[in-house]
Amino acid sequence: MYFAKEVLESSSKMRKRWEDEVKKLVSKWADQKPEAQWSTVSDLPIKRLYTPDDIKDMDFERDISYPGQYPYTRGNQVTGYRGKYWTFRMFSGMGDAATTNERWHMLLKEGQTGLSTAFDFPTLMGYDTDSPKARGECGKCGVAIDTLEDFLVLTKGIPLDKITTSMTINPPATALWAMYCAAAEIHGIPLNKIGGTIQNDMLKEFIAQKTLMCPPEPSVKLISDTVEFGTLHVPKWNTISISGYHIREAGATAVQELAFTLRDGMEYVEDVLRRKKLDVDSFGPRLSFFFNAHCDFFEEICKMRAARRIWAKAMKERYKSKDERSWWMRFHTQTAGCSLTAQQPYNNVVRTATQALSAVLGGTQSLHTNSLDEVWCLPSDFAVQIALRTQQIIAEETGAATTIDPLAGSYFVEALTNEMEKQAWDYIHKIDDMGGMVAAIEKGFPQLEISDAAYKFQRQIDSAEKIMVGVNKYVSTEKETIPFLEIDDKIELEQIERLAAVRRKRDSKAAMKCLSDLKAACKKGENVMPFCIEAVKALCSVQEICDVYREVYGEYRDPGLY
């Protein structure tokens, strides 16, 4: 930023005086922390004070600019949150489809503005509830969906043309999205009217979340199929949510989350372009992102500001995109599950509130706030309501949404935004040099970088070098207990029975024909989406569809890197 020469000169004089005074005071402190140890939760060093000197090389137009103007550091929307708050989108799913549908209606009644689906592990991994691999997991971490019948129960009474739904689904994304499309068709809603998001980001699965099915290359192929199908037929759908959330939860630093997520995004763009069916600006505007809001308040805000700037530059300069909507990084945020503590669980309400505030100040478009009991179980009605109210209080009472990007121009916030951007590009270029993200994953590079960070952090917690309240400081001897939401083991048998009933009643010849058509399409390298939609309509199950993929493309096993 331009500062007059006199300003910098007087700043330099004042700094000298301030530094002397600091030195004098600090020397008297008995157990002072060495300067180098003051850092963010990700170990990024932080200075005691930031001044004009820290941002004097910035250019207002190039680096900061206006909301809705390149490079979008200050946000994509020209009206900020005055036009519309971020979407209050609570991630939820539990037990069977009917139970989850009930929770969805409760949340909508309480003022939630978008839906977000948590599936159980068998669904996430492409197994039916009756698979031996699924034993003990049904409905435990989310909702169990085996066939379109379950899906219709899940979406009962939900206006699919009015509310957007996000689905955290990765390897079987094609099958679950096909169910959504089929459900819309059954309700008489055309595909160009439905809106929502499938997470559908496999690269971060290999890196972090580990819901795995096929090897990286065919996984990316299936994703590109959805991007092409969505662009042509479901134009309001975000066919991918390029996710840093899980990368962070697996133990990454904020910079690693930023870098690996954006480099994943670039990999997807490059694959679609390689197929030569779509122009970058026909699909660029539908790419969406998903970040974590961890506990280090300013680091998170700066991460989000840096993310928008990096993506805008990548789309414009690297991929020569011309439509400014392709330059926008639109993202959802979730507060950090891994920052919550099992000890003194009510403190989690406070953690979630400050994390949510950082996401709002970082300009998120959509937000999930964790419930205080999520360390232990899926959230109870009581806990999820506090979490939703937390967003509503931030929106309606704090004034944080009144003006756009209120921290812009702060010496500290701008300097930290720049530093994080720089470090992220260093990682991105390193991965470019390795031959891209698929190649880097095959080498184990991002996985091991994250393992290093996770291990270091755990050691820092164990030695109380970094503090977690209630864990390694202010520990209470009394045990606080909270009510747990329990998922009854018996729902597994009920779900298996439901699936058996569907198999009995469906036209099995028609179902098998759909699966063999899908298999032929996979072998020929055709887009699988139209075949998936036919298959789910014929009541083929999630596993039957995924078994086709596993058969044609092979199965990927976690190499167990640590």
């Binding site: 592990f121 068998p122 996430l124 991994m125 197994y127 031996p132 691999k133 699924a134 034993r135 003990g136 997991e137 435990k140 971490c141 699965e205 979340q209 580990k210 819901t211 795995l212 939860e249 697996a250 133990g251 891994c338 503590t341 099992a342 000890q343 360390v375 232990w376 179980c377 393992s451 996770a454 291990y455 755990q458 050691r459 164990d462 864990v471 747990f484 998922i487 083991d489 096993r557 976690d558 190499p559 167990g560 890197l561 640590y562």
Partner: protein
């Protein structure tokens, strides 16, 4: 009495992909001087037990955060017993509510570590309680 290194297997049964704790522990055990075998995610109880027997481990540590520990941990200990390998000590960790502890101890687990256990606590417990099998 053998003074060879302890052989420790860290295993993730079931479909759960939350492997941060398992990976951190695998590193910690390596730093503690054990020989470490980490299975990676998504192992069936059968795969885990056959690997533990084949690798001749002294200790098997199970990690599951999906809520399926009530089924999976006893399935592992039962299979070990069926194979006559129940001298392999089994411990478990993860998101395990206190009300499930007894069920897991009854199934043969020797210790359960939940949030708040430090790495050093776990290593100290192992050094005190686990000896290389004859």
């Amino acid at each position: 009495m053998s003074d060879r290194k302890l052989r420790v297997m860290v295993a993730k049964p079931g479909l759960d992909g939350h492997d941060r704790g398992a990976r951190v522990l695998a590193r910690c055990f390596r730093d503690a001087g054990y020989e470490v075998i980490y299975t990676g995610c998504h192992q069936t109880p059968e795969q885990i037990v056959s690997a533990a027997v084949q690798e001749d481990v002294d200790l098997l540590g199970l990690s599951c955060l999906s809520g399926a520990h009530r089924y999976l941990y006893p399935a592992v200990t039962k299979l070990l017993k069926d194979k006559g390998a129940d001298d392999i000590m089994v411990i478990g960790g993860g998101i395990i509510p206190e009300q499930d502890f007894q069920l897991l101890y009854d199934a043969g687990l020797k210790a359960i570590f939940v949030p708040g256990a430090t790495l050093d606590t776990i290593v100290t417990w192992i050094n005190t309680n686990v000896k290389p099998r004859a």
